[in-house]
Symmetry: C2
Subunit: 336 residues, 2 copies
């Protein structure tokens, strides 16, 4: 009997959260590698908010996932068959392997990289992966924090936000404040990660609390959420502030007509401030320098990372939804 392999494909484009109608499980034979190709048994999926944006039929920084195509996703796996000079059986690789049991790499544009031995796969997907790199380059390259700055980060208990705050402290920020959605997350930010303060945006008055915690205004705001929280932070910028636009998770499930509109953009003028977006795709060639510095912080205990593991490929859609309900602390990873 031929071994089978599952593939989670896009059956219908979602409106709002991803439910059973959006994803279909196809069962196919385990693929065989063609010339120059290798087959990977996928082991860990990186669950990132941006996956939700790829499901919409809207222009973005990558093409939308096509209907009936496997859900695009970063993942780690082990090479189980190879006709490639680049990948040997037994290699651990990272790449856009997708939500499936087996992926073919070595095809044009597949961009899978061998993960060095000694790096835990969950660390490779989080602090040393695109999540950690997003935190690193977004904060340092776009946000350009200076010693003593007040840095605010939203989605602070998430995979990227939690690392942003710790890098800010490691780089000498005067005050690092995180926004998160439960008291437990807020306590974790302060007690475990060394944040100077935290705001529970679901139960506290965000504007008033931020004014208390950031009496001199916000020098760097690292935005993972967009919407009303971004608007509040815009109104509290310090002179020459930088707003790093990393994500807008609050808006990914909205259609445009109901999306929250920013009203406080005028503060960019009065405070001579800058709001700038970036994508980690533009920094791939600079990953080594960042990974080296990150490794140092991890070894010194300055950057800790949390992982939220969900078991089973079939639960990947629920794992994605966790990001939007705030059900996770740290990086969400699906273990196959």
């Amino acid at each position: 009997m031929t071994e089978t392999s599952r593939r989670l494909v896009l059956a219908h484009r979602p409106s709002g959260m991803v439910d059973d109608t959006v994803i279909r499980v196809d069962t196919v034979p385990v693929p065989e590698p063609g010339a120059g190709e290798a087959v990977v048994a996928v082991e860990y999926l990186s669950i990132d908010p941006t996956i939700r944006t790829w499901m919409d039929d809207a222009p973005g920084y990558l093409p939308p996932i096509e209907i009936d195509a496997v859900i695009r996703s970063g993942a780690i796996g082990t090479v189980v068959a190879s006709s490639s000079d680049t990948y040997a059986v037994g290699d651990t690789v990272f790449g856009m392997l997708g939500w499936q049991d087996h992926a073919v790499i070595g095809t044009e544009g597949s961009m899978a990289q061998v993960v060095p031995e000694g790096i835990d796969p969950t660390a490779a997907l989080s602090v040393f992966g695109t999540t950690g790199m997003t935190a690193y380059f977004g904060l340092l390259d776009v946000g350009q924090p200076k010693a003593g700055d007040t840095v605010v980060v939203s989605g602070a208990a998430g995979a990227t936000g939690s690392v942003v705050g710790q890098i800010a402290k490691a780089k000498g920020a005067g005050r690092v404040i995180g926004l998160a959605g439960t008291d437990e997350k807020c306590a974790w930010l302060i007690d475990e990660l060394g944040f100077d303060g935290a705001v529970n945006y679901k139960t506290e008055k965000v504007a008033a609390r931020l004014r208390e915690l950031c009496p001199d205004g916000i020098d760097v705001y690292f935005d993972n959420v967009g919407g009303e929280i971004l608007d509040i932070c815009l109104s509290q910028l310090a002179m020459k502030a930088r707003v790093v636009c990393c994500g807008a998770i609050s808006a990914y499930n909205d259609d445009r007509s109901t999306a929250y509109g920013l009203k406080n953009y005028f503060t960019l003028i009065t405070k001579r401030a800058r709001m700038e977006g970036f994508l980690i795709l533009d920094y791939l060639d600079r990953f080594p320098e960042a990974q080296g510095e990150m490794l140092g912080w991890v070894l010194e205990g300055k950057v800790k990372h949390a992982v939220h593991i969900v078991e089973g490929l079939e639960n990947a859609p629920d794992a994605l939804n966790l990001l939007f309900t705030g059900g996770n602390t740290g990086k969400v990873i699906v273990k196959l």
Copy 2:
């Protein structure tokens, strides 16, 4: 009989446009200069949208105008009495002289400067004044246009916008498109000022027209208006675009609850774009370099400027309202 002098003071804070209830005319004796002071007969008022923002009791880059205080305004006049070593009778001076027949300068923080001979007062208030300097530093320092770029400017028939477009052409922009509110203004931008295209935002479909005129997207958007037009331009940014936030005239008469909210800020991420505000106050020490380059362009005919003169101090409030109804082409100046 003592000579009298009129002062237009803030009687009540406006909601919306400035009307008769907002401004009161006080008649006072012509002031005498104290030690170190001089008295200026005010001759030309610079009418700028920002004056409207100073009338609100809201935090800004300068304190609100106080109730019963003279309306703050840039202006040019001639020194008529002096006990100052800096200012001689007969000097032409520029400063924040206010909406009044006579102003006292040489007091702390009054910052009046002598205008060199040979500069026409209306040019000193427009192309060589804060208006022209706003265009120069906003476009070049914040917007950083590159040769071949597509540059879009709103409020393009206004004092600043009209100069922005011409500087962009002088610096080698590939395509300069202006937004204005009448067909006559649009024709003026193209026929007289050398813009490559213009959109009448009151009668045309702005998003569709901009897509036609800027098929490769917008590299630099110089925003004088804020609101919905800013939001449309955000949705049409090119990769690595720069949005220069200069003003938001569409919002100055609104209260916050009715203000238009920006929904397309997510494009800053997908296009790795930057949105940045500035104030010309930060560039005062660099005016000479800019004025020198501007003089060259004016002499070469590359930068033309239009002036919309309103006669009579008592008409200053109506002159200010022209900016919001779009009743002007070029710089609005009140001649006393």
